[in-house]
């Protein structure tokens, strides 16, 4: 949509916007700067040093928590993306009523406060007798990975020309061939963006994990929480900064995938 530059309606809106961005990035910049502080005393600057990153990498507990986090986020985001891709394809062309109902269910994990989901799932696992551990965490994470993956996939799907799918069927492609050769390649950027968003939300989740993880399934956020409760150390600074870098990198990729114009995807097929 092209539009003229809107007239300025509010004096000082630019100033407020600048302050807003300062507010949004001040904590991030502070955290990263302090993570490179050579001094043991976390507040006093003792010169630039990456030594705390070395301390983090040498900590076995952190490595174990990182491994758990990657297993959980990898599995849950894959499962959640597959589930939401299937749902998105199945719902394309569904009736209005079915669609509203299904999308309501899909959005539910985002609408219900995390603490409520956490309580409900904990009660369910305990009452059913399902052991708390990595598997229960993976199931819980898959629940909220589904909506995170669903929306990018759906918006990509909505932009596709349904004639392409019809043409594939007319040319005797089996549903599986149609999916593998037409739908999946065209949806790929949306699927990947959705998977990345799901991965990051799983990697960062604390509240739900805190409830449904048994003692053996400590993930990185749960471990960090324990460290923060004990006190502020330079090690926490470096560890949280690493998590910050990973998140920013992954989200930037997801954003750029979402920005890719529709045309360069269809181009290869139309020509």
């Amino acid at each position: 949509m092209k539009r003229e530059r809107a007239p300025r309606l509010m004096t000082g809106a630019g100033v407020v916007a600048a302050l807003t961005f300062a507010f949004l990035y001040l904590p991030i910049v502070t955290l990263v700067a302090l993570s490179f502080n050579a001094n043991d005393l976390t507040t006093i600057w003792g010169g630039f040093s990456p030594k705390w990153y070395g301390v983090v990498v040498a900590n076995d507990d952190i490595l174990r928590a990182t491994r758990n986090s990657l297993i959980v986020a990898g599995t849950a985001s894959l499962a959640g993306t597959a589930a939401s891709l299937a749902a998105a394809l199945g719902l394309a062309g569904a009736g209005r009523w079915e669609r509203t109902l299904a999308e309501g269910l899909l959005a539910l994990p985002l609408l219900v406060p995390e603490i409520v989901t956490a309580v409900a799932l904990l009660l369910t696992f305990v009452i059913v007798g399902f052991p708390l551990g990595l598997t229960s965490v993976i199931i819980a994470h898959t629940v909220f990975c589904i909506p995170f993956a669903y929306y990018p996939i759906r918006s990509r799907l909505a932009a596709l020309d349904p004639a392409l799918m019809e043409a594939a069927s007319d040319l005797y492609a089996s549903p599986w061939q149609r999916f593998m050769r037409i739908e999946l390649p065209l949806l790929a950027p949306g699927v990947l963006a959705g998977a990345l968003l799901a991965f990051i939300s799983s990697l960062g989740d604390f509240v739900i994990t805190y409830f449904v993880a048994g003692p053996g399934a400590t993930t990185l956020p749960v471990y960090i929480y324990g460290m923060i409760r004990v006190g502020v150390t330079p090690e926490v600074n470096a560890l949280t900064a690493i998590l910050l870098f990973v998140t920013i990198a992954v989200i930037t990729v997801a954003f750029l995938l979402g920005q890719r114009p529709e045309t360069d995807q269809n181009g290869g097929i139309e020509s």
Binding site: T20, P113, A120, I127, I139, V207
Partner: protein, 294 residues
Amino acid sequence: MIGQRTHKIVQTAPTMVFLAVFMIAPLVLMAYVSVLERGAFGGVAWGKLTGVAYEKLLMEHDLLGNLVFNGDYISIFARSFELAAITSALTLAVGLPTALYMTTLAPRRATMMLFLVTLPFWTNLLVRNFAWILILRNGGQLDRFLQGTGLTRGPLDILYTPVATGIGLTYSFLPFMILPVYVALQRIDPRLIEAAFDLGADRLRVLTRVVIPLAAPGIAAGVVLVFVPCLGAYVSPELLGGGKSLMIGNLIEAQFGASRNWPFGAALALVLVGVLLLSLALLSRLQRRTRRTP
């Protein structure tokens, strides 16, 4: 066509069944647990239905065993409401001018700004709140800055107060306000604004009589998107608020940790959901009304 329809159902069903089993069923189970009696060793006593958990919200037994009013839990609910309302108001006060400014930018720059607004949201909630500990604690970055400029002398003592919780919540949920407000402002037909100016309205009138009413659905959506997670917040009050400014989320968590009163925890969670459903219903009514007026 029946074949294709079956195919679609087979595609959709597993996801829906999964969500029904791990989202709907747990909520139903939670509602059931909330009316059960507390077990002797934590957990619940099956089959013993009681309203004790809900009674506990308002009442307590005094030393003589009489049921008397107890405002402790209500005051935690009130504080949570207050903090959620203040946070919604603050994010709106900051978010509206920011979103307005973003609509004056060229599309590429506006997209870039949108990305910058959302990026902090994706970073880990613990990390964000931890960063505020670094800034707000005594001897932290804010203290050092203020003392360095001679504005203050002693420590500010902000950390572990409701003010710190408010800052953490505002920081956490600001993107949820900016995004829907920006989208709503972006959709306004610029000709309406021009027409208002041509008819002699000044900027304040255009803003208050044209722009804000037209952006009302976006503002309402932003308020709900901030208010809902705020009311159930756990991390910010826990890390920044200290023990003195508990919110509902912390109270719920305590029932599954130290207090081991699952029915009460389940009841609190259910009341929270009820309150949120009520506010969502209010919002949709508000949205319907604003859609009708223009």
